[in-house]
Amino acid sequence: MKKVEAIIRKSKFSSVKKALHEVGVNFFSYWDVTGLGNEKEGHVYRGVSYSTSDIQRRYLSIVVNDDFEDVTIKAILSAGSTGDVGDGKIFVSQVDEVYRIRTGEKGGNTLK
């Protein structure tokens, strides 16, 4: 089992969510994050220009069976991209075990 974590633009969240549903990934968690990066947002307030490097993004955490790894990543790559700097990152890692709390069962079936 794999954990696919993605940091994406908030504006791309609905298209990424739709793309994930289309390839059969229906369960995942997400939350809003603030981070630092290369992208600077320019602002002007009362005649004073300033830029902030605080970047608002959405963080997705998806745990899938190994055979879903590729389609999940492809869905995010295609639906989350604008081509501009700041589209985000995907991290993939190994998950040792998964338990379903209601029944106590474990393994890949709990993700279906």
Partner: protein, 392 residues
């Protein structure tokens, strides 16, 4: 007026100081009215007096004809007069509140307000509205200084004190870095917008009411000039700031409306609609340059009170000598002398009060209190306990 000022001030400052600003505004309106009852009204309207300082007569009691049609030519009663003027008094101190926001000790502010509102504002007001020396100052054809509804008597009086207070207080931490001005964005622009629109409505009361009778022609003309100057001020400030800074800054748009309102206030009943639009438009342009000038000379005025109330107050007062029914060289000179008299008196008195406070109890909160917010330290309260969004 006070709803508007409170909204504008909290909107253009950070959330950690919201309770503090609301507290100051509530303090001003409540204590201001009581002070005006105790000493202000009689000090400002002393009847026959030496023209410079009236006498302190505690409390108010109506004169014999105070409730009849004889008082004020039947326009209103003594009670109405007190209430109307009391609201003006409370407005003058509110101007200072915004300028010193986010760093002044609440205790020092309260003492300053009591002294300034209790004594300085009524004495300054008596020079003109109380029948003092400025109201009878005659140069050539011009008979008397003219300030219809307070460009100088209310707005500049508050504005000069704001200037002095900001100078003695120093800038907020982080406002100037390596000699350049930094942006400290306000936390609630919708509230600031609501505040300005409420102030606009409040101005109808102040300017319209200053006709001091229900004379339909004079009152409706005043409302028209007030409205047009506000609109012109906003539009020109918007255009000027867009040209200078290449962005559509809503806060400048809002300040421009207020600048137009302050500008028209001195001569609202003397102007044609075209004059009003010109006065408002010039005020709107002045605002944008004044905000940047205040920044350049390293003064930190979070809400633009100096630009709006002082610069546009002076402009509006001088404009009476340039536009409208009273325009002329003589009137301009009288207006200029009036502006200078108020400048000297207000700068001197506010400097004395605030400097004395600085040397005794101190006027500025500690660095830690400023960084963590005045709400937490001066009030032990939180304006938005369920929405802790930012650490700063």
């Amino acid at each position: 007026m006070h709803t508007g000022f409170a909204f504008l001030e909290i909107g253009l400052t950070r959330q950690k100081n919201t309770i503090n600003i609301l507290f100051k505004n509530i303090f001003i309106i409540t204590v201001g009215l009581l002070l005006y009852y105790m000493i202000g009204f009689n000090l400002m309207y002393p009847g026959d007096f030496n023209g410079f300082i009236g006498s302190i007569v505690p409390g108010i009691s109506p004169p014999e004809n105070g409730m009849t049609a004889e008082y004020a030519d039947g326009g209103y009663t003594w009670w109405t007069d007190f209430l109307f003027q009391g609201m003006f008094a409370a407005t003058a101190a509110t101007i200072v509140s915004g300028a010193v926001a986010e760093r002044m000790k609440i205790g020092a502010f309260m003492i300053f307000t009591v002294v300034y509102l209790g004594f300085v504002y009524p004495i300054a007001g008596s020079w003109q509205w109380g029948g003092g020396f400025l109201s009878s100052l005659t140069i050539g054809d011009a008979e008397g200084f003219y300030d219809f509804a307070g460009s100088t008597l209310v707005h500049s009086v508050g504005g000069w004190a704001a200037l002095v207070a900001v100078y003695l207080l120093g800038a907020r931490i982080g406002k100037f870095y390596n000699g350049t001005s930094q942006a400290i964005p306000g936390h609630n622009i919708p509230l600031a917008t609501a505040g300005v629109l409420i102030l606009w409505l409040g101005w109808f009361g102040f300017n319209g009411g200053s006709v001091l009778s229900a004379n339909p022609e004079a009152t409706s003309l005043t409302l028209v000039t007030t409205c047009l100057a506000a609109a012109a001020g906003g539009v020109v400030a918007m255009i000027t700031s867009t040209i200078l800074y290449k962005n559509l800054d809503l806060t400048m748009f809002l300040n421009g409306i207020l600048g137009g309102l302050v500008g028209i206030t001195a001569g609202a009943d003397q102007m044609s609609p075209e004059d009003a639009i010109l006065i408002g438009a010039i005020a709107g342009a002045l605002i944008v340059f004044a905000v940047s000038l205040v920044d350049k000379i390293k003064l930190d005025d979070p809400v633009g009170a100096i630009a709006v109330h002082l610069i546009c107050g002076v402009w509006g007062t001088l404009a009476v000598g340039l536009f409208g029914a009273k325009a002329g060289v003589d009137q301009f000179l009288v207006q200029l002398i009036g502006v200078l008299c108020y400048a000297v008196f207000c700068i001197a008195t506010s400097f004395l009060i605030i400097f004395a406070l600085k040397k005794t109890i101190g006027i500025r909160v500690s660095e830690r209190e400023e960084l963590e917010g005045l709400d937490a330290h001066e009030h032990q309260m939180d304006a938005y306990p369920d929405f802790r969004l930012n650490e700063h």
